[in-house]
């Protein structure tokens, strides 16, 4: 099993004819993902590696039955691209784009409040259900299909590191999700934790956070109340200076809030096995998940 994406996920790529869109579409196809359509306004009727390109998301959905959109549209036009996918009734929208203005994302979030669509990202590596489908930019081969561990993270390459160590220990993954490094995102930790808790194949969860905001603290509260599966956690940014934006738009300690120490304490209080040494995360997971 898996959450949010599986064998039945039919992907359309918004921005398929751009440099990144082309490159990653090919990687997804190579992994075995069903990429059924592309969308680039003005290039409708063309093909990219045999994949039909449409002018609008609505057209692409109607003619191919796509139920998921992967977005590589540049920041000034990305909010529009997400809203187009929402309006076309796409169920799962994965926005890779980094650098979308906060106000744009706040409007998108407000607009999506009563919509059945799920947004993952933006500023994220996407989602992968190993062995079934990859909707994102993560390197496929580091993953190990078959579970039993679910991974959710605010980061990109840090997630690859975590997955690599899991696989190195012989621990497979059900689904790995990057929820993104922006201050305002679609799917959050709690959405993923709830889905992993419900998923019978997922026996344990790895949660990777970083400084800024209070999403980890809220997730810890949720875990205390609702999650019975073992959780291993990691927080990046113990050495980050306050007031500085550490690469990710959302990674900033404001005053006393958003510190790594505060998050670690909240997570430990919720019974999460917090790893302090990233070099040994795989070993810790092997220990914690040995019964899983």
């Amino acid at each position: 099993m898996s959450i949010f994406a599986d064998n039945n996920t039919k992907v359309l790529v918004q921005g398929i004819t751009g440099r990144e869109g082309q490159f990653h579409t090919r990687q997804c196809v190579d992994y075995g993902t069903q990429v059924v359509a592309g969308v680039t306004p003005g290039k409708g009727g063309q093909k990219m590696d045999g994949i039909p390109v449409f002018n609008t998301v609505a057209d692409a959905r109607e003619q191919t039955g796509a139920n998921c959109s992967l977005i590589f549209v540049p920041p000034p036009f990305a909010a529009d691209a997400i809203l187009e996918a929402v309006d076309a009734g796409i169920e799962l929208i994965v926005a890779i784009t980094e650098g979308i203005p906060v106000l744009d994302m706040m409007k998108v979030k407000s607009y999506m409040q009563n919509s059945p669509s799920r947004l993952i990202g933006p500023n994220c590596p996407g989602i992968i259900t190993p062995g079934q489908c990859k909707v994102g930019i993560m390197p496929g081969p580091i993953h190990k299909p078959g579970g039993p561990i679910g991974v959710v993270s605010r980061s990109g390459t840090l997630t690859y590191e975590v997955v690599h160590q899991l696989t190195g220990q012989g621990i497979g993954q059900t689904t790995c999700i990057g929820i993104g490094g922006d201050p305002v995102n679609g799917t959050n930790f709690i959405d993923c934790l709830a889905a992993f808790q419900e998923d019978p194949e997922t026996k344990g969860i790895v949660m990777v956070g970083e400084i800024g905001g209070s999403a980890e603290e809220e997730a810890a509260g949720f875990i205390t109340e609702k999650v019975t599966k073992p959780v291993v956690g990691f927080i990046a940014g113990l050495t980050a200076p306050p007031g500085r934006r550490m690469g990710h738009a959302g990674a900033i300690i404001s005053g006393k809030s958003g510190t790594a120490q505060g998050k670690i304490e909240a997570m430990e209080a919720a019974g999460i096995h917090v790893c302090r040494d990233l070099g040994r995360l795989g070993e810790l997971c092997a220990k914690v998940f040995s019964d899983a």
């Binding site: 930019i137 390459t157 201050p183 050495t239 934006r245 070099g279």
Partner: protein
Amino acid sequence: MKIHEYQAKDLFKQYAIPIPEGRVAFDAEEAKQVAARLGAFPVVVKAQIHAGGRGKGGGVKLAHSLDEVGKIAGRLIGMNLVTHQTGPEGRLVRKVLVEEGLQIEKELYFSIVPDRATAKVVIMASRAGGMDIEEVAEKTPEKIVKVYVDPLAGLQPHHCRQVAFGLGLTGALMKAMTQLTTQLYRLFMDYDCSLVEINPLVITAGQQLMALDAKINFDDNALFRHKDIVELRDLDEEDPLEVEASKYNLNYINLDGNVGNMVNGAGLAMATMDLIKLAGAEPANFLDVGGGANAEMVENGFRIILSDKNVRGILINIFGGILRCDVLAEGVVKAAEKTGINVPVVVRMEGTNVEEGRRILAESGLNLISAADLKDAAAKVAEIVKS
């Protein structure tokens, strides 16, 4: 992006927010000219730096004569102003704002920020003006009015009423507050601000609302649609190495330690800094070369790390995804050939094209220490620091 108080007040003026009369001055003589034009004493001379706490740090002074204006401005300009936000090294003052002095009856607080948890715009106001708002929030949260605005529906009159009533204002002052809230919300949205703050917002003896201070920060990700704001950037207020890095789209932050590091991805970069600390050393920087980095960016990143005189060793940690390991390796080799490496460099690579990357480094003849994994990398960094 941050701007100075005098620049923020220029923007306030365009949005009809009441501010004291005044102007920026770059030397003592100019400061005296501004004061002379104001025509009355006392006047306030305020150091202009991108940091808060200027008053407590001695950067805001009252002057009662032209002579005193000259003396204060002369002393402030060129001094290293230390506040709780500048760190012990302080910040060089290069200009002052000279303003009319006001009879103040009451000090309030007002700000607008995006709230990440609710994805709404939040307006915060308090009767406890002139104080550190974080302290107010911690000790007396009941003194802060918070009003959440849905950015799609926009600001409504009832939001403004909540702010004004929350501050205990009535009559003409309530009207003025409504006007001010409306205008500042417009400014906030028009310019993609990440903070608009007035502390203190004062009620004068003449019962006028007036923005005594002004602070505006902007969302860096939205600067592409605000070319006029980009022109207000003051490079003197930024770290020279960080300015250099920003030219190449590198995410670099200069820190106090001595182990330089170059990583792809912000999360992994922070985690690598933490790992350096755990190994008993201090990171000299944060450097995220990004997912789509090319050989040239890697080369520039390497050069910038090496130009930090404190650096005694370097850790390169790359998890190849979009950034392939062979591209990274080429960048490192080129940078090393151009600038020369005089400190030990530990390289840890994993992911896309890792074999090709390792081959390029091995055949380069450079003196690089390769690490098998993250654990190994941390141990080797610790060794560097001990030696």
